[in-house]
């Protein structure tokens, strides 16, 4: 009996010792891990510091100016390019803007915006890089900015039908069809786009988002054939005649819509 008691206690002690050792080793492991992580954190912090320094170095205004001069057609802004907000008239509350004045009839009526020296290169890249998200609007692309989405004819519907297929196709897929379709969805500039009853599909969210993105860039791109505009666009799914027609009309992009578009966008934002 006594021997069993001893055995019991002995076993207990051994077990406790074992657990203790195990715990101790675990703790050691964890501590090593912690030390390793701390080392890593320090290393990361140092790397971050280096990256920050590099970022600042590359963003040095002197360098940026040099680069801008050699690669961009942009010039420093001048005081005369600024307009006070109250100089812009408000849009009439419910009047649908007449499509006539802005129709693609009078291209080149307005001079280029003064900050653009020549049919440029760089700026529109941003604008058109996002294009693949709205290739379905190619057909509607020629519709002038001021025309609300409701005025858009059949091609819009067709485009929307196709959209489900087209949208997922991402940029790198490079469909091979070199299609210099208009890169801008002009209706994007019109807040009235939301009024279009056609856009009920889930695409609506996508187009709206795209519209929001595109709006600020729109004024610079549509009126000139930029290098990116000729980039192949993944229209793989739909080589339908409608977009072809659109391409034909593309150069008609009216220049006045630039500043108009800008104005309208601002007015829309005002509301």
């Amino acid at each position: 009996m006594k021997g069993k008691t001893w055995l019991f206690w002995g076993g207990l002690i051994a077990a406790a010792g074992g657990v203790l050792f195990q715990t101790s080793y675990d703790v050691q492991d964890l501590e090593e891990k912690l030390a390793g992580l701390n080392r890593k954190i320090i290393h990361e912090q140092e790397s971050i510091q280096v990256l920050k320094a590099e970022w600042s170095y590359l963003n040095d205004p002197s360098k940026l100016e040099q680069m801008a001069q050699s690669y961009l057609a942009l010039q420093p802004t001048e005081p005369r390019q600024y307009v006070a907000m109250d100089l812009i008239p408000m849009r009439p509350a419910d009047a649908v803007p007449p499509p006539a004045p802005a129709l693609p009839g009078q291209p080149g009526a307005a001079p280029l915006p003064p900050m653009v020296r020549a049919p440029g290169t760089g700026t529109s890249q941003v604008a058109s890089a996002r294009v693949p998200t709205v290739p379905n609007n190619t057909a509607a692309g020629i519709v002038p900015v001021s025309v609300p989405a409701a005025a858009k004819p059949l091609p819009m519907d067709k485009a929307l039908e196709r959209a489900a297929v087209v949208v997922p196709a991402s940029l790198p897929s490079g469909g091979g069809v070199a299609d210099p379709a208009p890169r801008v969805k002009p209706s994007a500039l019109v807040p009235g786009a939301a009024r279009a009853p056609v856009e009920k599909t889930p695409e609506k969210a996508a187009t709206d988002r795209a519209a929001g993105k595109l709006a600020p860039n729109a004024p610079t791109s549509p009126n000139r054939a930029t290098e990116v505009a000729t980039r192949p666009v993944p229209l793989a799914a739909s080589p339908v005649p409608a977009p072809k027609a659109a391409t034909a009309q593309q150069p008609y992009q009216p220049k006045p819509t630039d500043s108009l578009g800008l104005l309208v966008a601002r007015l829309g934002a005002n509301r």
Partner: protein, 628 residues
């Protein structure tokens, strides 16, 4: 226990010599001897006290004492043991704590501009050193090192590696690539040491403000020196300056262009916020590369904007006019004779280009007439002038945080002749920063802000001091504007930004004489004058006239165009709204004519005739957009 039993008696038996009781030890005095009055109590017992009994008694005592001591010690030990094991939470506290992510690993805080762009930062680098004792074949090692670090000299390296010392630097601050390359060589005896290196991403752009550090990362100039303690004591939070890197760039670019165009020996420029006293940009040319400050001419380290004190010339007429208005006796329409030269002692004061007639105060300012200025100060008096200049801060350093702050050179005693010359900016030498801070107070409504290079908190109180009255300040704004619309500073005008300012040209003193052909040309501009927000100051040191300027190298020809170009570029960056200068509300607050009248409707019928709503600022938009 038994071990201590032997030790105990030995220790306590020291006085007993050998400690053996019975032995007739040499120094041991037998017990009966020490205390004669121990005897009486023992007498009654009448027991014979043998030496053996005494010895037994003694050893008992000793054992007792020993036991007590041993018990005490062991008790103490066990108490400490119990405390250490049971109550101390399981041993000494662990040092392993996860690091905070935001912490910096460096020992010196970053310096950033007002938008958070890095101006100075510390990077951890590795430095290469060698222990020559451990380098077995110096030639081979040197050859290998030179192959990856071509900038090292082979012979020098062999000499270092074969020396007797135990430590020798081979190269400080390797790049990570170089480190990897050296590491891959695997040369025994060559190792790396972690070091920090100060890095200035903006390079020379803000070098005079930021300063630089030595090899051991101690600040040696600029803010690095002025805030050395703060930078090392609180390395986690960056030091935010009031500088704006973009403005700094514009300022430097234009100054460099001006220096080149007029083959000047140097230039200084300041952009100053008149509402807060913040210095938004400060450039002194020539400048230096803070990474290698000693490499070039030591002259480049000289900060012309704060350390250099110069006779400012005509820009001082700003203060002379403000003094005259503030004294209350002079109005802009008052006439002063500017025809006859003034003789005082051996000096004759004359005008640069005299108009040979009496001038109003406005015209004195417009044409920068020395004679008129002297006549004005004659009315005000020397004491008032001295008090005013002191109030403007011209008698002590500006209080800017830089260690390089110049002491002004002020005449002592302040005699009549000094007072005359000071009225047109000679005979007193102040730094450009003095001039800018004082001029800002003259136009911003009369509030003097101590200039600062640290960004002010938006809600923090700005220490101010009313130095001139609001009316004076209002008049001075009009005078500033008048100089740019119709005076010497026309080339500084920028459409839309209502620029005002004052030109200055001072002959430089070489030895005891003023030189006719070496001068300091400056322009102190401010915009927009209807509600001044920024002062732009440009000072060009010894410009040479060019054909384009028809042989002139004065402030109006050299510094004013540069200031205009600067304002044109920084206006949009500073979000200053453009306005139509000919609109009535602007004219109301900025108009002044040569007769000293501020009523623009009466005196300028042609200006009020065209409708002000012609909207010049919409020019960049196609006209057909306007109706919509």
């Amino acid at each position: 226990m038994s071990g201590y039993d032997h030790g105990g008696p030995a220790g306590y038996g020291q006085p007993g010599g050998g400690g053996v009781p019975g032995s007739p030890g040499s120094t041991y005095v037998p017990p009966p001897a020490p205390s004669p009055y121990q005897q009486p109590p023992q007498q009654p017992s009448a027991r014979p006290r043998t030496s053996l009994a005494v010895a037994l008694e003694q050893s008992r005592y000793r054992l007792l004492v020993t036991a007590a001591v041993v018990t005490t010690v062991f008790t103490a030990i066990s108490v400490k043991l119990a405390m250490a094991t049971l109550f101390a939470g399981g041993g000494e506290p662990r040092q392993h704590v996860a690091l905070e992510v935001d912490n910096t690993t460096t020992n010196r805080a970053d310096i950033v501009d007002r938008n958070g762009n890095l101006l100075a930062t510390s990077l951890v680098t590795q430095s290469l050193f060698a222990d020559p004792k451990l380098v077995s074949r110096p030639e081979e090692a040197a050859q290998k090192l030179v192959s990856v670090l071509p900038e090292l000299d082979y012979k020098d390296l062999v000499g270092k590696l074969s020396g007797d010392r135990r430590f020798v630097w081979l190269k400080r601050n390797l790049t990570p690539k170089q480190q990897a390359a050296v590491h891959r060589l695997g040369i025994p005896g060559v190792a790396f040491e972690r070091e920090e290196r100060r890095f200035y991403p903006a390079g020379p752009l803000a070098s005079h403000v930021v300063g630089f550090t030595g090899i051991d990362n101690n600040g040696l100039a600029g803010m690095e020196q002025g805030f050395n303690k703060r930078l090392t004591e609180d390395p986690g939070t960056p030091l935010q300056l009031s500088l704006d890197l973009r403005l700094q760039h514009v300022l430097k670019k234009e100054l460099t262009a001006t220096v080149q165009e007029f083959s000047a020996i140097g230039a200084a420029g300041i952009v100053f916020d008149v509402r807060t006293g913040e210095v938004l940009a400060m450039v002194s040319l020539p400048d230096f590369d803070p990474q290698d400050p000693t490499g070039l001419n030591p002259d480049t380290l000289f900060n012309r904007a704060t350390l250099g004190v110069y006779e400012m010339g005509s820009t001082f007429k700003i203060f002379n006019s403000a003094l005259a208005f503030d004294a209350g006796r002079i109005r802009p329409s008052d006439m002063f004779d500017a025809k006859n030269p003034i003789k005082i002692g051996r000096f004759t004061i004359n005008d640069y280009h005299s108009l040979h007639r009496a001038l109003t105060v406005a015209e004195v300012f417009q044409h920068s007439s020395n004679l008129g200025s002297v006549r004005m100060v004659q009315q005000v008096g020397i004491a008032a002038q001295k008090a005013f200049m002191t109030k403007m801060g011209f008698t002590k350093p500006t209080g800017l945080e830089l260690p390089e702050s110049g002491w002004p050179l002020v005449p002592n005693p302040w005699r009549e002749v000094n007072s005359y010359t000071i009225s047109f900016g000679h005979g007193i030498s102040v730094s450009p920063m003095h001039t800018v801070a004082a001029a800002a107070s003259v136009i911003n409504g009369g509030l003097f802000h101590k200039p600062t290079l640290l960004k002010r908190n938006s809600d923090g109180e700005i220490p101010t001091e009313q130095v001139v009255s609001r009316q004076t300040s209002d008049l001075m704004r009009r005078m500033f504007r008048f100089v740019v619309t119709e005076g010497t500073g026309k080339s500084a005008d920028v459409k839309g930004y209502v620029v005002g300012g004052k030109t200055g040209t001072a002959d430089k003193q070489k030895g005891r004489h003023y030189q006719k052909n070496s001068r300091m040309s400056s322009f102190l501009g401010a915009f927009p004058m209807n509600d001044p927000r920024y002062v732009v100051y440009v000072l060009v040191d010894e410009p040479k006239a060019t054909a384009k300027t028809y042989g002139y190298a004065t402030g109006g020809w050299v510094a004013a165009p540069a200031a205009g170009r600067i304002i044109k570029q920084i206006g949009p960056l500073l979000n200053v709204p453009t306005v139509d200068e000919s609109s009535p509300e602007i004219l109301n607050s900025t108009f002044l004519n040569a007769a000293g009248s501020t009523n623009w409707q009466q005196s300028l019928p042609p200006v009020s005739a065209p409708p002000p709503s012609k909207g010049s600022t919409v020019a960049s938009f196609p006209t057909q957009t306007k109706p919509r």
